[in-house]
Amino acid sequence: MKRIAPKLAVLAAVAVLLWFFPLVRVTRPGDEPAIDPDAFDPVGYVDAYWTERLPKSHTSAAPAAEVIKALSADAKAAGERFGRTVGMSRGFFFYLRGEGTVVSADGRKVGVALGEGGETADLVLTLGPVFGNAVRDAPGLIGVNDFEDSVAYNDLSAELNRRVESEVQPLLGDALEPGARINFVGCAELSSPRAYRAPLKVTPIAVVLSPAEGAQQ
């Protein structure tokens, strides 16, 4: 009995210790914080990117007329010369800038004849919902390795697309008329060289408009 007492005392002490410092802790739903303070904030990221980094890159965009000419001749060669491939892909992203004349505008797309004239659209600036990664990936300023996981990287794409819809597309709204002069910067994507169809569809990320000659100011 005398030899058992110390063992019982140790066991009791261990039991008390485990009560206060359990080896397993049960977490109930609701115990975890509702908001992860370290979570990526795509809106905040895009606020800075959209107003600072992206505008500075406009001058590095390829001349649209050269890209269109190259695509018409050999889409694969044009992609290799002017495009950007992300990871392992058969496709290309294009970052373009140009000026021209609006030849059509129907609320869903704006046809642009590049240069000083022409009546046929060399490319189309698309309006409406923006999907995909062209706006994120074409300028080449943001890489997948900048992010811990792909979820944040993809959230960024969605926020950039929203920014195009809310800040750029309204500039190409109902008042736009054929004959207006336009300066633009935009992004385009080809899933593969064989997917190219003229006129190239471009998502505008910056536009400056001048009224058509003789139009009411």
Partner: protein, 342 residues
């Protein structure tokens, strides 16, 4: 939960120390995992001393219950063997504990590299770090781990973009109004959410498209069948189902066909599995998105070879692999888990 102050129990510190020295404490922190593998006196930037090819390479795959992953694992093994290594496949059975056990065994067994398809984006990180601590490079295939300092490189399907394209095609086929269901994959896998978010980035723009059910079938064919049977009972008017992989899509299609609704409910999958591509050609499944498991698996094996035999160290951390939409219009271009020419 509030912890009592140890000051009220002065003997606890002593007891705790005693217990820890007896081995009852938690696992020791693995600080060596913070030391980048292969950075000790490299011969040149991005290069280490080259070693001989040969030895053992492990292929650890999330599950072999899905034919797509069988192709992934066997292609990785075959390419490793072509490059002069002895390769072994380990099946994690979608279980992180099994996966951890495989890592313990392969690290003890002298494997020189791991071609790894993780089971869980967060839960698999520790296994990768253990390998890194032993200078065993890990190359993730298809699925990522949520860390950029653990794996040597990660070759990942661009699931989000693939599902954006799939979502746009879904709207073309189903229209801008209707009811649909969604079968999700494993909730702990980033691919599950990349696919779902890519799809919803399109679908949610159309208010007339109503999601009446969203359930996880864990990327599993039989669960896809069971979940779809249940959905059909509660929502018999559903117009379409979007499935996070082809295994679930094939299970869902079986349930739909059994209910006599194969002509009215459109099924959309993801993966580019052989049976799904064949099903599109036969006019059963509406569309899938082709991943390229063979391409990814071969690339991972080649990266491991470059690491082990050429001393290459400057791998990009993440390499997205594009995913291509497969529809009845272009299905003839695809087959055998890739483009038809492969």
């Amino acid at each position: 939960m509030r912890l009592s102050s140890s000051a009220r129990f002065p003997a606890f510190g002593l007891l705790l120390t005693l217990l820890l020295t007896m081995g009852c404490g938690g696992p020791a922190a693995d600080t060596s995992a913070d030391t980048p593998a292969g950075e000790a006196a490299p011969a040149a930037e991005g290069q280490a001393d080259a070693a001989e090819a040969g030895g053992k390479i492990a292929v650890v795959v999330s599950t072999l219950d899905n034919p797509w992953f069988v192709v992934l694992a066997k292609t990785a093994m075959a390419r490793a063997e072509e490059l002069g290594y002895e390769a072994t496949i380990f099946d994690s059975r979608n279980d992180t504990a099994t996966e951890a056990s495989h890592f313990e065994n392969l690290l003890a067994g002298g494997y020189r590299a791991v071609l790894f398809n993780p089971t869980d984006a967060d839960g698999s990180i520790a296994n990768v770090r253990k390998a890194k601590a032993k200078d065993v490079p890990v190359f993730c295939i298809d699925r990522e781990v949520n860390a950029t300092d653990a794996a040597t490189a990660q070759i990942l399907s661009d699931s989000y973009s693939g599902c954006v394209a799939l979502g746009q095609y879904f709207v073309e086929q189903v229209g801008e109004e209707g009811q649909y269901a969604e079968l999700l994959g494993i909730v702990g896998d980033n691919n599950t959410w990349s696919r779902s978010k890519g799809f919803h980035s399109v679908i949610d723009r159309y208010e007339g498209l109503e999601m009446v059910a969203q359930e996880s079938a864990n990327f599993d064919r039989s669960q896809g069948l069971a979940k779809m049977e249940s959905i059909l009972q509660s929502h018999p008017e559903v117009d379409a189902v979007f499935c996070g992989n082809d295994a679930m899509a094939m299970g869902a299609y079986k349930a739909i066909a059994s209910a006599g609704k194969a002509d009215t409910i459109k099924v959309f999958g993801f993966d580019g599995a052989e049976d799904a591509v064949r099903s599109i050609a036969e006019g059963k499944i509406a569309a899938t998105a082709m991943q390229f498991p063979k391409q990814m698996a071969r690339q991972a094996a080649e990266f491991a070879h470059q690491y082990l035999s050429e001393g290459k160290r400057d791998f990009p951390q993440k390499i997205p692999v594009s995913v291509e939409l497969v529809t009845p219009d272009n299905v003839d271009q695809y087959g055998d888990y890739g483009v038809a020419e492969e």
